[in-house]
Symmetry: C2
Subunit: 110 residues, 2 copies
DNA sequence: CTGATATCTCAGCGATTGGTGAGATGTTCC
DNA sequence: GGAACATCTCACCAATCGCTGAGATATCAG
C-alpha cells in the first residue's frame, strides 16, 4: 500500500466514451421549428394538402412548402397528387422514418 | 338534390384547428445541439462533473458550461458541489423534466 | 498567502436559419 | 387558349445561435 487509507478523491474520469447522438440531433433539429412540428402533428391524424396545413398553422403556403421539402429530403413525409383533383399534393407521414426518429430521441431522453 | 351525384371534390379543409406544439419545439430545440444532446445522454448513466463531460464530448469546458446553464434554466439538469472536493460541480438530470420533454415530443411523433 | 484547478459569465464574431418576394411549373375550369 | 388555383424553387435579408477569448469567482494544495 502506498501511504494511507484516505477516501478516494472524486477523480474525474477523463476517458469516458463519446456518445453518438448525431441521429437524435438531426431528428431534434427537424422538430425544433413550429411549422415543421405542426406539420408532423397534423399528419399524425392523416394526410393533408399544403393549403390545409398552411391554413391550420397560420403560415404562408410557400413557407410550408419549403419546410415540406426539407422533411421530404429527410424521408419523414411523402407526397402524392390527389387522384380526383391533381392540383393538390397530399402529404403523409413515413411511419417508419418517424419511428426511427422517435427511437433516436428516446435513446437520449431514456 | 342539387345537380348530380359526382364524387365530392377533395375540398380542402381550411378550418383545421392549429395544433399546439410549443412545448415539443422548446424541447427539440434543446436537443438539437450535439453538446446538449451529448450531455443528456451522459447524464442518463449518472451524474458527471463539467470537466468529465467536456472531455467525453471533445469540447471546451466553458462551452459545456454555457450549455449547462441553458439546460439548468430549462430545468432539465441540477448542479451540486461534490461533498469531498467542492471544486467539482456535479450535474444530474431532472428525471421529471426529462419525462415531460419526452411526453411533449411523443405527442408530435405519436 | 500563492499557485493551480474547476467553473462561470459575457461581449463579440461568424455561420446557420427561417421568412419574404418573385417567378416558374403543373392542373383544372370555362 | 386563358384565367384561376396549388405548389414549388430560390435568391436575399434579418434574426438567431454557437464558439471563442478574456476575465471573474470559488475551492483546494502546499
Amino acid at each position: 500500500m502506498t501511504s494511507t487509507d484516505l477516501p478516494v478523491l472524486p477523480a474525474p474520469r477523463l476517458d469516458l466514451p463519446a456518445p453518438d447522438v448525431r441521429d437524435a440531433v438531426a431528428s431534434a433539429a427537424l422538430l425544433a421549428d413550429p411549422i415543421r412540428a405542426g406539420i408532423l402533428r397534423l399528419l399524425a391524424d392523416g394526410p393533408h394538402c399544403v393549403c390545409e396545413m398552411a391554413a391550420a398553422l397560420g403560415a404562408r403556403e410557400n413557407n410550408v412548402s419549403n419546410h415540406l421539402a426539407r422533411m421530404r429530403e429527410a424521408g419523414l413525409v411523402r407526397a402524392s397528387r390527389h387522384t380526383v383533383n391533381a392540383r393538390f399534393q397530399y402529404y403523409e407521414r413515413d411511419d417508419l422514418a418517424v419511428a426511427t426518429a422517435r427511437a433516436a430521441l428516446l435513446e437520449v431522453l431514456r
